[in-house]
Amino acid sequence: TVGCVVVDKEGRCAAATSTGGLMNKMTGRIGDSPLIGAGTYACDLCGVSCTGEGEAIIRSTLARDVAAVMEYNGLNLHEAVDFVIKNRLDEGKAGLIAVSKNGEVACGFNTTGMFRGCATEDGFMEVGIW
């Protein structure tokens, strides 16, 4: 699975996710990536793209939950990402990347690693795996 989340200079957030799914999967299986609110979500507060065990991400509507705890609990982006990774996945293994309308960027995962990269306008740039 691959994904990208962006907030532009006008504060507009967007998210996109694309995948081949699971190796040796049954034909006809649909995972979390195309399900809006599960693998992908964007609103005026943030943009989120998820990857990992699709079935766990679907059950937890992981991407929408990041926006929901920001909207209803007033958490900031990093707090929201930490909260959903720690409290919404049950036994599932997953990761996500997110941006906020304020130009923040965050990622969280409970797997051994996640291929990820991020950059902000002030020059910060990071590419990581573990």
Binding site: V6, V7, G11, S18, L22, P34, G52, I129
Partner: protein
């Protein structure tokens, strides 16, 4: 308004024993995709266009599990899915079960912009792709030697393959200890790997 920001990912559930050169290869691709996004953002390209641009690049490179280089189904074919969402008006588009569309994320964008729906799948999505004139290729284009080998391993182990290795029950992380009765493909759900 405010500063721009961008993040990309190439999947979670990485094999702890991933060879160093594979790690460097992944980092180079992620850096290249960030650079594409940064140049676009500096040129005032909108967020929705940047996410589509970057994911297309990730789909085209065979390194990660999407587009060319996608994981294979039990039949050794590729079935791809993608979605895209624009924050300001929460517009969205999604596709599933694609077998010939070169860049699934661009078809998802067309579902958002050019159809009255949010989600098209399988033959309906392929029909929409033909009508929209997006680039179509044979299913073989998406299949790589690496993944043919990994599917073989997965079948021998009668399991769902992690991106980089066959899970032995002990290595399925927290899920491994879970004796969940839930089965999928005739296997305990816990052997399902992060994608």
């Amino acid at each position: 308004m405010g500063p721009w920001a961008i993040a990309v990912h190439g999947g979670a559930g990485v094999d702890p024993n991933l060879p160093k050169e594979r790690q460097e290869e992944a980092k180079r691709l992620l850096t290249r995709c960030l650079d594409i996004g940064i140049v676009a953002l500096r040129s005032n390209v909108t967020a929705i266009d940047v996410v589509e641009l970057v994911v297309k690049e990730l789909e085209t490179d065979p390194l990660f599990n999407s587009g060319r280089g996608s994981a294979l189904t039990e039949n050794g074919t590729v079935e791809m899915e993608a979605s895209i969402m624009d924050g300001p008006k929460r517009r969205c588009g999604a596709v599933s079960g694609l077998t010939t569309v070169k860049n699934p994320v661009s078809l998802a964008r067309l579902v958002m912009d050019k159809s009255p729906h949010s989600f098209l799948a399988f033959s309906g999505a392929e029909e929409f792709a033909r009508k929209q004139g997006v680039e179509l290729v044979d299913n073989e284009y998406f299949i790589t030697e690496d993944n043919v080998g990994m599917l073989k391993l997965a079948k021998e182990a009668n399991s769902i393959l992690f991106d980089y290795r066959i899970p032995t029950i002990g290595t399925c992380g927290a899920g491994a200890t879970m004796d969940s009765p839930l089965q999928m493909n005739g296997l305990p759900i816990s052997v399902y790997a992060p994608e």
